[in-house]
């Protein structure tokens, strides 16, 4: 090693070292001369004897230099300089090739980073491979009851190793007297952090003492990111209190920076003891199998009928874990079976036995959703890289061919074959290194953009490009360079100066080199991607052009939860009035309405209802219920077609029970008959609580952009339902109106947390975010593939022209006009284009059927898009052929023939 360093040092100072060596030897020589002179020889004789004794001056000097280790390294440097200079002489060629490589490698870098971050990264805890997830027969966590967790915690084999956690609901947070804002929390058991073996960044983490039954502490551990963004990394944050859903909670610690929860994509801002669900009035996701109407939150810790916790276990060294798990779970099963009448249903629960599955990554819905996309993208990237390599290799070879005379001359002047080959290789390596650097930079820039498109939930938690990935990419770049240089280098070793100068054959005469099939394949890929992108875009446009049944631009909505804000049910009505008043007096506001669910909210209530007729009971399943105040329909811009609207009087306790129904529901229940005056209820037989239909409402597609208008009935807001959606119709600029509204409404009850105020148009855009990302991504890959295919044609035909230049020269010499030569080449390109486009067209037309069972379910065959894509493919081929065609037409027959 030190020898190597010494050599390197000598190399870096090689000018000085050479001079020094020369001087040393000169001195030596002079001393020899002097010695001989003193022995009585004449000056000339002394010099001759000295030369004899010293040895051949030149060869000795070279030996010494070689000993310095410069020769190889120096000639490599020389080659490097030569390669760089050669490339700089045709900057467009070099830049073009670097750009292709950069695009290919950039996409590779970005997708590799994403795929690794989302699919391959383990949890940032010590020895993640020890983590076992409790699953049922499905490939997802099996939620268990709190007592099951307690039994696991107390079992000697699993004691201290249980990591139990709830879903991550959003609560209303108030810091000081500020307005309420959202915070994602997770309720976890006492050994959650200790079993994960995480150390706090500051303060302490939660312990079993925080969650002791009857003595639950109102404490929280917050994430490092939340601490940074919300508390500006305030060191005094420990011991500070905030209010969650109105209750005071103390911050006792900050989790380490790398830890953002055990489920990628479910961001957790704060971890709380399990026992806090009751005081904070939070109901995490749960499946409840009980014969009670309502299981109070206070009993969730102790009942086996509410299953709301997912469990990871840090595996102990030995022991029969499966047996322990089943014995801890059995009481839960028995409690559930005790309240189920149906034997088949009881059997179903018994069959869904929990088991441990190794889960070093934890479980994440985001990861599962991304898997298909990640796989598809990886395949696409592999295809892009292969095509990139094939095309750039051809182009590089083409470039060498164009310079074969120069090479021949160099060869004739005495440069070795090895030297020429090394130099060709060096050129490829320089290109791939430049492309690699640019590509990695591009990839680093591209990764966060792709992340927000593909995994919006997890975008902030993903690791970026790190040393391991960089090393992998570096290796890829070197391999790429070696591969690219292999063909030109090989060519150089076979070059004979005589043959070159005589313009004799190089490589296979007149072949396309990378082959017709590969070019066609590239064109197919391009047509396919462009076609799919076009089809998706057209589909999206079609979906968006369907009238939604409500006004999109002028309606602003927000969602809130009065119960979570600590407002008792009896005050909801009054708060609603005050909110309405505040909104109405805000500038630009035309109408204000409230609803229990609202449009594009993701929140839906469905009921089975029974329409009464003369002796007939018409049952409709999955009918959607909405509770609205009298102004809701007007504010939303939903049309009342017949009958009357709901009034304030209808919401009174003793008022006659009335309802509105939507067109679709009316059609399902009555066909063309008049629905007004008909009655329906929730019970098949009991008609006492029936509603009378007093109005018919136009359909509206409130469940999402791609969902049809659901069958709906509207009831007055008030009886048992609280408003959770505020709808404001404004005139003029919605953005300006929104700011004033936000301020005014926020001041009414500061404990209420509102979701973002968005127009329905904006909600629509968010709804199609994923579709839009898919369109963009496919279009991006399509453009890339088209560009690559164009270059492929260019390279292949360019090669063809270069190797056939003699033939072309002969044709020209015997009188063929250049225009015909030109046409021949373009025709060749068009031929490739027609084959590729046709195949691509057919494949793209069949694709929806091939894929329908797999992923892009919304894909239809859009003939217009396919036709356009096929034309794009054809155009790419012809365009790619133009440059070689021009070159062919410009062949100078005289110059070429004279060289014979």
């Amino acid at each position: 090693m030190s020898t190597f360093l010494a050599k390197l040092r000598d190399l870096l100072r090689r000018r000085t070292r050479t001079a020094e060596l020369d001087e040393e030897m000169q001195t030596h020589f002079e001393l020899l001369v002097e010695q001989h002179r003193r022995a009585g020889h004449s000056e000339a004789e002394a010099r001759r004897l000295a030369r004899l004794a010293f040895g051949g001056a030149l060869s000795t000097r070279e030996d010494a230099q070689r000993a310095l280790g410069w020769e190889t390294l120096e000639s490599i440097f020389h080659d490097l300089r030569l390669a760089a200079r050669g490339l700089a002489r045709r900057p467009f060629f070099a830049l073009g090739l670097v750009a292709i490589l950069a695009l290919g490698l950039g996409v590779t870098t970005a997708i590799a980073t994403l795929v690794r971050g989302v699919l391959l990264e383990a949890l940032p805890v010590p020895r993640p491979q020890e983590l076992q997830l409790v699953q049922g027969h499905r490939n997802e966590p099996l939620r268990v009851s709190a007592p099951t967790v307690t039994r696991l915690e107390q079992h000697p084999l699993t004691q201290g190793r249980v990591i139990a956690y709830s879903s991550s609901p959003r609560l209303a947070l108030r810091l000081g007297d500020g307005p309420a804002e959202p915070i994602n929390v997770q309720f976890v058991n006492g050994t959650y952090f200790s079993a994960l073996q995480i150390a706090p960044a500051r303060g302490r983490l939660l312990t079993p003492a925080d969650d002791a039954p009857g003595q639950v502490q109102a404490v929280a551990v917050v994430s490092a990111r939340w601490w940074r963004t919300k508390l500006a990394s305030d060191p005094a944050a420990l011991g500070r209190t905030f209010r969650l859903n109105g209750e005071t909670v103390t911050i006792v610690g900050i989790a380490p920076e790398s830890f953002a929860g055990v489920a990628l994509g479910d961001t957790v801002d704060a971890w709380l003891p399990l026992g806090l669900i009751a005081p904070l009035r939070v109901e995490p996701s749960a499946s409840i199998v009980s014969n009670e109407d309502h299981t109070p939150l206070e009993r969730w810790r102790t009942t086996d009928n509410v299953m709301w916790l997912s469990v990871l276990l840090r595996q102990p060294a030995t022991g029969q874990l499966q047996g322990v798990l089943e014995s801890c779970w059995r009481p839960q099963l028995e409690a559930i079976q005790a309240v189920i009448d149906d034997a088949g249903e009881r059997e179903r629960f018994a069959r869904n036995k929990p088991r441990f599955v190794s889960s070093p990554q934890g479980y994440s819905n985001t990861r599962n959703d991304f898997r298909a996309a990640g796989l598809t993208l990886s395949l696409l990237v592999a295809a892009v890289v292969l095509v990139t390599v094939a095309n750039s290799s051809t182009l590089l070879l083409l470039r060498m061919l164009a310079r074969r005379r120069e090479m021949g001359v160099r060869l004739a002047l005495g440069a070795g074959h090895g030297r020429l080959a090394r130099w060709a290789m060096m050129e490829a390596l320089v290109l791939s290194a430049a492309g690699g650097l640019a590509g990695i930079a591009l990839g680093v820039w591209l990764t966060p953009i792709l992340a927000t498109w593909l995994v919006p939930n997890a975008a902030d938690d993903l690791p970026g490009v790190d040393a391991t990935l960089l090393a992998g990419l570096g290796l890829l770049v070197v391999l790429l360079g070696l591969f690219l240089g292999a063909a030109p280098a090989w060519l150089m070793t076979r070059l004979s100066p005589h043959a070159v100068i005589q313009q004799h054959g190089m490589g296979a005469q007149g072949s396309l080199r990378i082959g017709r099939s590969l070019i066609v394949l590239q064109l197919v890929l391009s047509v396919l991607l462009v076609g799919v992108a076009g089809a998706l875009a057209l589909d999206l446009r079609r979906v968006l052009s369907i009238p939604p049944g409500f006004a999109r631009e002028s309606v602003i909505t927000t969602f809130f939860d009065l119960t979570a804000a600590g407002i008792p049910t009896e005050r909801h009505r009054a708060v609603q009035e005050r909110l309405a008043e505040a909104a109405r007096t805000s500038p630009q506001v035309r109408a204000v309405g409230f609803a229990a669910h609202g449009a594009l909210s993701g929140s839906i209530s469905r009921s089975r209802i029974y329409f009464r007729g003369e002796g007939v009971v018409q049952q409709t399943e999955g009918t959607q219920r909405e509770n609205i105040d009298p102004d809701y329909l007007g504010a939303m811009g939903v049309a009342l077609l017949r009958g009357r609207n709901l009034t304030a009087a209808d919401a009174a306790e003793k008022a006659p029970r009335v309802a509105l129904i939507s067109q679709t529901l009316a059609r399902q229940a009555f066909g063309a008959a008049d629905p007004l005056g008909r009655r329906f209820g929730y019970d098949a037989n009991d008609t006492e609580k029936d509603f009378e239909v007093v109005g018919l409402v136009a359909d509206s597609r409130i469940n999402g952009v791609r969902s049809d208008a659901p069958p709906m009935f509207y009831l007055p807001l008030g009886a048992g339902e609280s408003p959770s959606c505020l709808v404001v119709r404004v005139e003029g600029n919605a953005v300006g109106a929104r700011e004033a509204l936000e301020k005014r409404i926020g001041a009414v009850e500061p404990t209420i947390m509102y979701t973002r105020w968005l127009t329905l148009e904006e909600r629509t855009q968010r709804w199609i975010r994923n579709d839009l990302a898919t369109v963009r991504l496919t279009a991006g890959f399509g453009a890339l593939a088209t560009g690559l295919a164009m270059l492929g044609v260019l390279g292949a035909l360019g090669y063809l022209v270069a190797t056939r230049s003699r033939e072309i020269a002969v044709k020209l010499a015997v009188g063929a006009p250049p225009s015909r030569i030109w046409r021949d080449v373009v025709r060749e390109a068009a031929g490739l284009g027609v084959i590729g486009s046709t195949l691509g067209f057919v494949l793209a037309a069949l694709l929806p059927r091939l894929l329908s069972s797999w992923m892009l379910t919304g894909l239809r065959t859009e003939w217009l898009a396919l036709l356009a894509a096929a034309l794009v493919g054809l155009a790419a081929a012809v365009l790619g052929g133009l440059l070689p065609a021009r070159r062919a037409a410009r062949v100078n027959p005289l110059a070429l023939l004279r060289a014979e």
Partner: protein, 111 residues
């Protein structure tokens, strides 16, 4: 060579240079070459220039160090000195040489 002078065995020049430097202390290239010729009693056929590649090699391996000084004729000359690592190496090479020499002698003198 016709006059019975001995060609140097491959690889032994390094050994001889190290030995010379360890015996005589710092020397320049000319001094080393002259010493080698003196010791061999002019029976060694050595292109004196070849000591330079050897000196570069030895220095890169860290077995000798060098510094500039003045030669007898008042010219700048580089003086080489054996290092601690060089002495260890010399010891090893001498031992190795003796083993080989003994082996060769045994083979040649065996009846």
């Amino acid at each position: 060579m016709k006059d019975g002078r001995t060609e140097l065995l491959q690889g032994t020049l390094d050994l001889l240079i190290l030995r010379t430097l360890s015996q005589l202390g710092p020397l320049h290239g000319f001094g080393i070459a002259r010493r080698l010729e003196q010791v061999s009693g002019d029976t060694l056929s050595l292109n004196q220039g070849t000591v330079y590649p050897a000196l570069v090699r030895l220095e890169q391996r860290g077995w000798i160090t060098s510094e500039w000084g003045l030669s007898e004729n008042n010219r700048r000359a580089r003086f080489y000195r054996i290092s601690a690592a060089g002495r260890r190496q010399l010891k090893e090479e001498v031992a190795q040489w003796e083993r080989v020499a003994a082996l060769v002698r045994n083979v040649l003198t065996a009846d």
